[in-house]
């Protein structure tokens, strides 16, 4: 079919006057984009949550079996899901971001959608964290005094609810942190990525040295002592909001093919 023939068939569509749409109208769609493949954001982290817990319970039961009565066992297996979600957030920056560009989302809408999706998943993790604490308390650490979630450092100041909120806040921070490194890699060269990483480590080291040199550790200790899981969660969320803004500044000039 020739173009002339087809073009003569083409009747110009009446262009209806479109009302200006909100710049954030597609945020819900950008949110759903993160759940396009349900395994990525839901089933894989949930599996990691349950499997790492099961492994920790198994190890706890085995330790109790071989060593008999002894001190309470606190495992670090609750971190597994957080690390998993941090990697998934990095995947979102490396794979979902280029696809979001093909779908013509603005970078601002993409970051907002990603933030809301990560916040939802983190809230889910926090809720599961609290439920797991209750379960561990009800069973006495699965009859082995082995605790993965009911860790005193997390629960002693604010109880089950505060621990869940802190876990959710830390999870959200970790996701935005994973997202940050992945999007930074897309934006800058590998050499620059390492320079920035080493620069941040150096900054942290200098901060520690300044604190040590001025003998401020007791003050830091006092400050930590008055914090609860709630206030910690607040600080972590504040840091996460700053990180989200930084992520937007980085992604603003990131190119999907790089």
């Amino acid at each position: 079919m020739s173009n002339v023939a087809v073009h003569s068939m083409a009747v110009p569509a009446a262009r209806e006057q479109e009302a200006p749409r909100s710049s954030f109208a597609r945020v819900p769609s950008a949110f759903k984009l993160q759940f396009t493949v349900p395994s990525q954001m839901i089933w894989v982290p949930l599996s990691v949550f349950l499997l790492s817990w099961a492994v920790a319970i198994g190890i706890g039961l085995w330790l109790r079996h071989v060593s008999g009565d002894g001190p309470t066992i606190n495992t670090g297996a609750s971190q597994a899901t957080i690390w998993c979600l941090a990697f998934i957030a990095a995947y979102s920056a490396s794979h979902t971001f280029p696809f979001s560009m093909a779908l013509s989302y603005s970078r601002r809408v993409f970051v907002l959608g990603a933030f809301l999706a990560f916040a939802t998943v983190s809230a889910g993790f926090g809720a599961l964290f609290s439920i797991a604490i209750l379960l561990e308390r009800a069973t006495g650490g699965f009859w082995a005094e082995s605790y993965t979630f009911d860790i005193p450092a997390v629960t002693q100041n604010a109880g089950v609810l505060g621990a869940g909120i802190l876990a959710g806040a830390v999870c959200l921070w970790a996701m935005m942190f994973g997202f940050f490194w992945s999007i930074l890699y897309r934006r800058v060269s590998l050499a620059m990525l390492w320079i920035i990483a080493l620069g941040l480590v150096a900054l942290l080291a200098v901060t520690i040295m300044v604190v040590a040199q001025n003998q401020w550790w007791p003050h830091v200790g006092d400050w930590l002592a008055v914090q609860s899981s709630y206030s910690f969660a607040g600080w972590v969320l504040l840091l996460t909001l700053v990180l989200t803004a930084v992520n937007y500044l980085v992604i603003r000039r990131a190119v999907p093919t790089a």
Binding site: N3, T36, F99, R107, P256
Partner: protein, 305 residues
């Protein structure tokens, strides 16, 4: 006519290379435009900038009269699926189509399903595990079914067999006829898309070499086949784009249409006129431009070499 795409003095420079150099371009609404050029000419960069996936170092871009960068008023009206598009990890084709349905206000799910059947896109294979052609088909389906007011296809045929390519051309034309919109196709298979496009933009080494309606462009050159002296007489002082000699017979492609007197002279001198295909013309014009650039190169640069 209104412009769908406007680039005003756009340049894109990278640290060690200039991808686009002071380009000005105006593409009309509701037409199919062909963006042609050699590898590395700047086609993908131009499309990336027009769709706000990249940004210009200098100059201004307007899509449907608006700047597209971070502009949600115009971005939902644009679709640009890249040649090597990345998808959400582990996504099936249906996942990609569902996501596109959320993003594009004019998405036609029935059309997408029909095209998926026609292109034989596997339902249960992850996109990353698909063949190159199947992945290209997913991109092509998103491009057509999005019905975006401004749609870009960057070499959409990669990996597609001849049957699938023809299917793409046919379905694109059918849907375009029913739902007119602005489409830009970049391609190396110029003669394959020649019947699709109304307007040609040729880009070379980051500059626009020409921008013309196809019909006008094809009238610009003719190939004369006949005895050397007769062909030379009819060609006159026209610029020769291509010359081949086969014994006493020559085949010469020249720039410039023939007038009535010259057409009469063709029969008298037994010279045959062969139409120049779009691909031949683009190739000759691009080669000519390269030659011109080389001959007009600054002598001091030549010495420095």
């Amino acid at each position: 006519m209104d412009a769908a795409i406007e680039l005003i003095r756009v340049s894109r420079r990278y640290r060690s290379a200039t991808a686009l150099q002071d380009i000005s371009l105006r593409l009309e609404k509701d037409a199919i435009h062909g963006l042609l050029g050699r590898n590395g000419a700047g086609k993908t960069t131009l499309m990336s900038i027009a769709t706000a996936q990249d940004w210009p170092t200098a100059g201004e871009v307007k899509i449907l009269g608006m700047r597209p960068h971070e502009n949600e008023q115009v971005l939902p009206k644009i679709c640009f699926v890249r040649e090597e598009q990345r998808y959400v990890d582990d996504a099936l084709a249906k996942h990609a189509f569902n996501a596109a349905a959320q993003a594009f206000p004019r998405w036609d799910a029935e059309l997408a399903a029909q095209l998926a059947r026609e292109f034989r896109v596997p339902e249960k294979t992850r996109i990353k595990k698909m063949s190159r052609g199947q992945r290209s088909a997913v991109g092509v389906i998103i491009g057509i079914a999005s019905r975006a007011e401004v749609t870009f296809f960057d070499e959409p045929y990669m990996g597609l067999d001849a049957v699938a390519r023809q299917l793409f051309y046919d379905r694109l034309l059918e849907d375009y006829a029913a739902h007119p919109r602005t489409i830009v196709i970049s391609s190396h298979l110029i003669d394959e898309i020649a019947h699709l496009i109304e307007n040609v933009v040729v880009i070379d080494q980051g500059s626009i070499l020409l921008q013309e309606p196809v019909e006008q462009l094809c009238d610009r050159a003719v190939t004369l086949v006949g005895r050397a002296d007769a062909v030379a007489e009819i060609a006159g002082t026209r610029e020769v784009l291509q010359h081949e000699a086969m014994g006493r017979i020559v085949r010469t492609t020249v720039l410039g249409a023939l007038d009535e007197a010259e057409r009469r002279a063709l029969q008298e001198r037994d010279v045959e006129v062969v139409p120049v295909s779009l691909q031949q013309l683009i190739v000759r014009l691009t080669a000519r431009e390269d030659t011109l650039k080389q001959t007009t190169m600054d002598p001091s640069q030549e010495v420095a070499r």
